[in-house]
Symmetry: C2
Subunit: 354 residues, 2 copies
């Protein structure tokens, strides 16, 4: 029997509501496709934990998680009690850095039954990946404040790009593009305005492209690129961007396909030296938490990405197909998609469709 | 007679095609509304000029322009011959910095006759302003490269925010919000990821808001904000952001209203110590340059913003009304909007509608 051992971290808010649905579907998939799942749940990486312990995670968090094959993650953040930059930097961003999950992979796909806010777009029209650099760039921890509290106050933060960091994400993105029928890569830049790091990014894209003569590539400044996401989303196949640009594009893409409520993501260490982490793109959504309103599809789709990563290709495809079946049926959708199902009704429907 | 003296800088590419249409409409407005226009055209701030002189602008550019009441600007950039970060930093960004045009003001409005890519949105549904900080932030000139050409290469660029810089753009945005019926301000942030400068931005927003108890305000992280632009564009009234975030939002907004081809902008020094600069949001568009395909409406609408700034409120409103008349008539639109008019046919139509 194939055994996969995973760490489960629900986090805050709707994370605690959608993770159980993800697990439900994972268990159904295990039965159906003949693998075994060993799941251990953790209460850390949550604002509740922070309020009790004064830190988002225990000191030995790495040992407690690093032996696992993957991390199944909900959502972190409860800004009323803990500022976001504390809760996120003490949890999610720690995982990404310490486990060198340098790829953030996010599919953008228009699904049947989910109306796009874009006029006249059909399932099949929008189907691409955003590949986001996930460890450096604009998300730096270097900088500070001078003359605090005075009129002369100045605040500085450094964007840091390294050859190693840029090249490895570009190689991953070009490899992914090569594996797809269209073999097309788009690079997000802003070298006309961000005049030091971004021209460097462009330079490395050009150098990397030389290794992939079979991949067609282009680049757009981020301002016009977001415009094209709305005006010409069918133009894209694989879009690669820095930490910040990838973040922006991977929320905008799912919005163009109707909702970020169903979008999944993988924080991947491709070499497998550390466990990879799978989480929905949406956050902890304090405004709807605790009301059984949350859409569990983003979490469930993340489970499929996790299984794909663990080599359970068939099970992954099975879950995605089950999601499509459920989304096509209005009564099984949650309210954000015009349905009436609760979080767990929707989750159960996907498990049954499997 | 009221006399306005303006510096005209067509720049590159379609800038040279749309600026004459803007001037045509300005002259028609001068006749109709009884003011006089003294326009002096400059060939600098173009890539042609750079190729001849080795610099984007002459050394005495400031003296040559600073006595003017305003600058009427086309578009700069011709990446095949001059890299964008050289052409832009040597021209447009110089103006913004040296003339302390710290406000970049960009209306986002769905116009009759221009189909929105968003399903079911009508004129009137989308009508807001993006207020962008225009002199500091992510567009810094501090940073550099270490270990160049090696595997250890590291590139660093600093984001710089000052109390003065942040507070004055927030005050401008809150003032603008206060002057509008909805009195609603939205701040773009990313304090959960960009953990030094963005929490500072949030802090100053909160402090500034205390001075405007009559303005309702909220904030969104930039990733979810771009999603809301697509999903709920009717939610916004005045959106304020840093240099980079404002740049992104002020291309995305116009894309949601159908095209960036018609969007105008003002680079404003509110105190009037230096001339302000008015330009379309679109760039020099090398791909369509020289073919009479360019849409002149962005340039013409920028002329209206300039007149508004110069106190010609009636003329400004007249031009906007003339634009609406022309856009409502399919045969008078340029091809990007499904029409057949050339750049100058469209420009002439607006002048006549005046
Ligand atoms: C051309 C470029 C430097 C510029 C900017 O990013 O400011 C442009 O996109 C704009 O929005 O005016
Ligand atoms: C919560 C936040 C720090 C995070 C990010 O910006 O990386 C989130 O938006 C994401 O995309 O995973």
């Amino acid at each position: 029997n194939r055994i996969h051992s995973i760490a489960v971290i629900p986090g805050d808010g709707i994370g605690k509501e959608v993770v159980p649905e993800g697990l439900r579907v994972l268990e159904a998939a295990a039965k159906r496709y003949g693998f075994e799942l060993k799941a251990e749940e953790h209460a850390f990486a949550s604002c509740d934990y922070y309020l009790k312990h004064g830190a988002m995670m225990p000191e030995d968090w790495k040992e407690r998680v690093s032996g696992r094959d993957a991390i199944f993650f909900g959502a972190v953040g409860w800004p009323d009690t803990v500022p976001d930059h504390i809760s996120l930097w003490g949890s999610l961003i720690q995982f990404r850095r310490e486990f060198d999950q340098y790829v953030n992979l996010r599919p953008v796909r228009l699904m049947p039954g989910v109306p796009s806010p874009l006029a006249g777009r059909q399932p099949g029209d929008i189907d691409f990946y955003v590949v986001r650099e996930n460890t450096e760039g604009e998300y730096s921890s270097i900088g500070g404040r001078m003359f605090p509290g005075t009129e002369r106050e100045v605040v500085i933060q450094e964007t840091v790009m390294s050859r190693v960091g840029v090249d490895r994400i570009l190689a991953y993105a070009f490899d992914l593009a090569r594996s797809r029928p269209k073999k097309h890569l788009t690079s997000a830049t802003k070298s006309n305005g961000i005049s030091i790091t971004m021209p460097y990014w462009d330079e490395r894209v050009e150098a990397m492209a030389a290794n992939y003569p079979d991949v067609r590539w282009d680049k757009y400044h981020i301002d016009i690129l977001v415009a094209h996401f709305v005006l010409n989303p069918d133009r894209f196949d694989v879009v690669v961007g820095s930490n910040l640009f990838g973040d922006i594009l991977s929320d905008l893409g799912p919005a163009c396909t109707g909702t970020i409520g169903i979008a999944p993501s993988g924080n991947i260490n491709p070499e497998g030296r550390f466990p990879s982490l799978f989480e929905p793109v949406h956050g902890s959504a304090p405004d709807i938490a605790g009301q059984a309103l949350a859409n569990p599809v983003g979490q469930i789709w993340s489970a499929a990405m996790m299984l794909e990563h663990l080599g359970e290709t068939e099970a992954a495809a099975g879950i995605v197909a089950a999601i499509e079946t459920v989304l096509a049926e209005p009564s099984l959708r949650t309210r954000d998609l015009g349905g009436r199902a609760s979080t767990s009704e929707c989750g159960r429907a996907v498990a049954e469709a499997l």
